[in-house]
């Protein structure tokens, strides 16, 4: 099976090539078939691969395939070769499977768009590079995929390029992620200087011998790489691009900015876990960043009015959970949360897309409402997604994936109360805003007329995702209730298991708290947005609340901060130096010469007596020289 490994990225690439070169001459159906088909085939191959992997695991748990030797200069030799182990298999599965569904959805969603071909070309290219990212067996190739997904996200955010706002959002996304990437690049240089290889397996072997626990260089490298991850995964302090990235079409948000690309950071950290394990500082930084992000983003999500921005902020916050989990060493929990999150968040985005489409591009949730009956399927699927996001106990995948994180936040070796509190608060907030979203959009009276209803090709993926969003969690149960660990035992082939503190209180207590908090969130939202809206009105009056609301609405005013601290100074410098100061220098020299020449030509005044005086001066000079 695994000799066909290369097909998985190659097929989308092929699709990209066809569409980008010949796209404008193909009919829409053909484009749709090529675009979606390539990814679906890739998905099928992945399935086959996965089955093969589960039935007959390879010797060392890794499929590898060497395609060609990329470049090699004395000790630096880099090859283009793919390798798949359990971890990357999970990612590949998500990418191809969710990707396929989203492609199918898009064939209908983008139906009337002028640049149908360009859209699918970009999407295919994205899938391809994302696959390369997760299948790369050396960091250079990984970096290739890393940059590739960045490019695609840029192209797709700015897909509707006529509106400057979109372009701006696209640029912003690219710039901010680029900052992270550059840090990561430096990390690679450093790693190479220290260890002398960029092959991931070697690194994993070398690191333990090379870095004593918490060696400075090791930490430094870890932090640099982490910066890359932060940039891609929109964590503090580089999170500001993601909400704006919603300018792209909904499927794009679903695939890139919810399911796959933004979790690349998670992948990177998990992939190089050894490196991080050896520097506690880096680990705790990850954890803290995760915790803070999940809390702050959650707060912002509570007050957003644009449906996609709500989801964007919730994405940030959910990834915050994953980082938290990684930071406290609960690797498999993090990966599992990524797994479920990919489904329900993709679902939410697609459903939101359907809603937006039906209400002719209305984004503001307060202009929606009462869609409960008019759009039945969308409502149900959305409900499933939201529930899973809110992690309603036992019936949703979200619960199964988030609950362990909450528990480990306290119980894991380097977990602590602070992290746990933030996580719990996050849980409450999550429940609150997902309920708020549901209530405002689907209950109440109708505010906007529905123009068209989503077609079959859009509904089908919704349903599939909804099912998984509900049932997907059952493959992994908490330890205290029916101990089932299909997922984590796979993951733990690659990643170490979590280490717990000694003599802990019973896990039930924490689960109980979590459940209560969640339900509390739901209830509060119910009270505020359904029972008595008056209190909300009251708050809207008070300036204090209002200012808080605005503050959160603008995502803790990070944009303003960066604008004043970085952007404006940069623009200022470039503006004042547009005409290259050095030019002035050289023009000055030229001017000097011209002036001298002007002065000298005054001496050429045609007066004979003056000329004789010149002779006199000359002889005076000569004679004086003789005297001296």
């Amino acid at each position: 099976m695994h000799q066909y490994l290369y097909l998985i990225p190659a097929l989308p690439l092929l699709g990209f090539l066809i569409l980008s070169l010949a796209g404008r001459h193909l009919s829409r159906s053909v484009i749709a078939w090529v675009g979606a088909g390539s990814v679906c085939t890739a998905a099928l191959i992945t399935m086959g691969l996965g089955i093969g992997f589960l039935q007959t695991p390879p010797a060392n748990g890794v499929y590898t395939q060497l395609l060609w030797n990329w470049f090699s200069v004395n000790r630096l030799s880099v090859s283009v070769s793919l390798s798949v182990d359990a971890l990357s298999l999970i990612f590949i599965f998500i990418i191809t499977f969710v990707g396929a569904l989203i492609h199918i959805y898009s064939t209908a969603f983008m139906q009337n768009d002028r640049d149908y071909a360009r859209f699918f070309a970009s999407m295919n290219l994205f899938v391809c590079s994302m696959l390369i990212l997760v299948m790369a067996d050396n960091l250079v190739l990984l970096y290739l995929g890393w940059e590739g997904v960045g490019l695609c996200s840029y192209l797709l955010i700015g897909f509707w390029y006529e509106t400057p706002a979109n372009c701006h959002a696209a640029n912003k996304a690219f710039f901010i992620t680029r900052i992270g990437d550059t840090a990561m690049a430096v990390g690679l240089f450093f790693l190479f200087k220290e260890i002398g290889t960029l092959q991931i397996p070697q690194i994993l072997i070398e690191v333990p011998q090379h870095f004593a626990n918490g060696a400075n260089n090791g930490t430094l490298i870890a932090i640099l790489l982490l910066a890359g991850g932060i940039g891609k995964s929109a964590q503090l302090p580089l999170q500001t691009w993601l909400p704006d990235a919603m300018a792209g079409p909904s499927p794009v948000s679903a695939l890139i900015h919810a399911a796959t690309m933004v979790t690349a950071g998670v992948y990177l950290i998990a992939r190089l876990h050894v490196l991080f394990e050896f520097s506690p500082l880096a680990m705790s930084i990850i954890a803290v960043i995760g915790a803070l992000t999940l809390f702050m983003a959650g707060c912002s999500a509570m007050v957003q009015t644009d449906i996609k921005r709500i989801l964007a902020y919730s994405t940030i916050s959910q990834i915050g959970y994953m980082f938290l989990a990684l930071g406290i060493g609960a690797w498999s929990a993090a990966i599992f949360h990524f797994f479920t999150h990919a489904f329900f968040k993709a679902l939410l985005f697609l459903a939101a897309g359907a809603v937006i489409e039906s209400l002719h591009h209305e984004h503001n949730i307060f202009k929606m409402g009462g869609l409960k009956n008019s759009m039945r399927t969308v409502f149900l699927t959305f409900l499933a997604g939201a529930a899973s996001l809110a992690a309603l106990p036992l019936v949703t995948a979200g619960f199964f994936s988030k609950d362990p994180i909450l528990w480990y936040a306290w119980s894991a070796e380097n977990g602590n109360a602070f992290l746990w509190l933030l996580a719990i608060a996050g849980a409450f907030i999550t429940a609150f805003y997902s309920t708020r979203l549901m209530l405002v959009v689907f209950w109440g009276e109708m505010k906007t007329q529905i123009t068209e209803r989503p077609g079959k090709r859009m509904v089908l993926p919704l349903i599939i995702l909804a099912v998984i969003a509900v049932a997907g969690g059952f493959i992994e149960w908490p330890h205290n209730l029916m101990h089932l660990t299909l997922f984590s035992e796979q993951v733990q082939k690659v990643l170490p298991a979590v280490v717990l503190k000694e003599n802990l209180p019973s896990e039930f207590i924490f689960q109980g708290i979590a459940v209560l908090v969640t339900l509390g969130g739901v209830y509060m939202a119910y009270v505020l947005y359904y029972q008595e809206k008056v209190t909300l009105e009251k708050w809207r009056q008070s300036p204090a609340m209002l200012s808080i609301r605005n503050f959160l609405l603008h995502g803790w005013a990070f944009d303003e901060l960066y604008d004043t601290v970085f952007v404006q100074p940069f623009l200022f410098i470039t503006r004042i130096n547009k005409k290259d100061i050095f030019d002035q220098l050289y023009n000055g020299i030229a001017q000097l010469n011209v002036t001298l020449s002007r002065l000298l030509s005054i001496t050429q005044n045609g007066s004979l007596r003056w000329y004789i005086a010149g002779v006199l001066i000359g002889i005076l000079f000569i004679i004086t020289m003789q005297l001296l």
Partner: protein, 480 residues
């Protein structure tokens, strides 16, 4: 003085005879064309006689002259330049109001003066030759006495030249007083024994005024621009090349004989003058709009460069100087040739405006002028580059870093105004400026064009294969 000595002097006698012949022709009312042709033939005769006597060289003609390879070489350059100038003179004067016949007498006399300078080894001959040169030049400059301020140029040159020759004489007198002889070798014997006495140095310093004046070195350069502008174009060419070559030759010979370059003071003075000339010349030319004046200034700078080659006072310097003079004279002659051809009956082609967009109307002339200018700027593929390279080599070898650096920097400044002209040539022509080719006396036009093209080709050839010329120069310089 025996017939061998006479034989050695043969070329110069022929040259002198030429002027007499011209007088006779005038007496017999011969036409301009005849005079021109005969003059040309006489010049050829000079060349032949030089080939004829070449094998018998070197030969001393005590006490005044020594006819050696050095002299022969520079005389050769002078005669060649004279022929070209004569060629230009025809088309130039044919359409001027003046009767051009006396012109040729003076031309030959001036050439004779310059030629005698190259072989003189005695103050008396030096002085007289110099005076023959300058006296004829006074007349030549003011020849077209009714137009473009020729007379003004003439009087300026005359007064300054007279003053400078007074200085020359005074300096000579001092040296004579000091050494008791006016013959270079004798002087050398007196001076080399001890380090030269004060009187000698003062004398040389005062003589330097005259030399500097003739070579238009700063600060004796003021006359140059005015005279070039006022004089007829061929005469301008004559001043720029022949007279300077002659004077430089005698300066070289004097310095070589009394090996001046071993005297730090002289070196200091000379290098100061050289640097000043390079800087001032180039700066003056920087904004100049009148091409004649521009050439004048640039030639100031060029003799500054030449002094750099003079300073080392070794064989390399000598070769470099000789090569440079050749390249320089060919280049300047072609520039003046273009000016002459473009000059209309009414006015010489001075203003840069005339040259705007010349490429569209006169591509051939433009190429000639462009290549000449590039050669002056010292750009490869032209003789000027190789020449400048030799000079730099001579300077670097002697580690005269200061003059060499100044040379480099100033020639970068110089680049600007040469490029300015070139760009003007190739820019789009100003409407209404159509300089129609002249129709008179086609034969001389054709021959002038041929001469110009030939010289341009020579420039390029020397720029790519200088070896032959270098060998030639060495061969000549070995004869002493």
């Amino acid at each position: 003085m025996n017939e061998l000595e006479l034989q050695a002097l043969l070329p110069f006698m022929v040259l002198a005879a030429a002027s007499v012949v011209v007088i006779l022709l005038i007496a017999f009312r011969m036409s301009h064309t005849v005079i021109q042709v005969v003059g040309f033939l006489m010049a050829c005769l000079v060349i032949f006689s030089m080939w004829y006597v070449k094998d018998t060289l070197p030969r001393e003609v005590p006490p005044l002259f020594i006819v050696d390879g050095f002299g022969a070489l520079f005389t050769g350059i002078i005669i060649f330049s004279m022929m070209v100038v004569g060629l230009f003179s025809y088309i130039y004067f044919e359409e001027r109001e003046e009767n051009p016949k006396e012109y040729y007498i003076l031309l030959f006399l001036a050439t004779l003066g310059a030629a005698l300078l190259t072989i003189s080894r005695h103050f008396i001959s030096l002085f007289i030759a110099l005076e023959i040169l300058s006296v004829s030049l006074y007349a030549l400059i003011a020849y077209l006495r009714n137009r473009n301020n020729a007379v003004e140029a003439g009087i300026k040159y005359l007064v300054l030249a007279a003053v400078s020759s007074a200085f020359l004489l005074f300096g000579m007198a001092l040296i004579y007083m000091d050494t008791g002889s006016m013959e270079f070798t004798a002087i050398a014997q007196k001076t080399t024994s001890s380090n030269p006495s004060v009187l000698f140095l003062v004398g040389f310093g005062i003589m330097l005024v005259a030399i500097g004046f003739k070579l238009a070195l700063v600060p004796f350069h003021f006359w140059a621009a005015d005279v070039y502008q006022g004089a007829p174009s061929p005469v301008g060419a004559f001043i720029a090349t022949i007279s300077k070559i002659g004077v430089f030759a005698v300066l070289l010979r004097f310095a070589q004989t009394v090996n001046l370059q071993h005297n730090s003071l002289a070196i200091a003075v000379l290098s100061a003058i050289a640097m000043a000339s390079m800087i001032v010349g180039n700066l003056l030319a920087l904004r100049q709009q009148n091409i004649k004046r521009l050439v004048a200034y640039s030639s100031i700078a060029h003799f500054g460069y030449l002094m750099v080659a003079f300073l080392p006072g070794n064989a390399a310097g000598l070769e470099a100087a000789a090569f440079y003079l050749m390249a320089y004279s060919v280049t300047l002659l072609s520039v003046f040739g273009v000016i002459t051809i473009l000059s209309t009956r009414v006015k010489d082609a001075e203003g840069l405006a005339i040259y705007k967009g010349l490429f569209h109307t006169r591509p051939l002339l433009t190429c000639v002028l462009t290549i000449s200018l590039l050669s002056l700027a010292g750009i490869p593929l032209t003789a000027g580059f190789v020449a400048k390279f030799f000079i730099l080599a001579a300077g670097v070898q002697q580690q005269l870093w200061l003059p060499v650096i100044v040379l480099v920097l100033t020639s970068v400044i110089g680049l600007y105004y040469y490029l300015r002209i070139v760009t003007t040539l190739f820019s789009t022509p100003a409407p209404g400026t159509n300089n129609t080719p002249k129709t008179l006396h086609p034969f001389f036009y054709v021959s002038t064009y041929i001469a110009l093209v030939a010289m341009t080709l020579v420039l390029c050839w020397l720029g790519v294969f200088p070896q032959a010329l270098v060998d030639g120069i060495r061969e000549f310089l070995l004869i002493h």
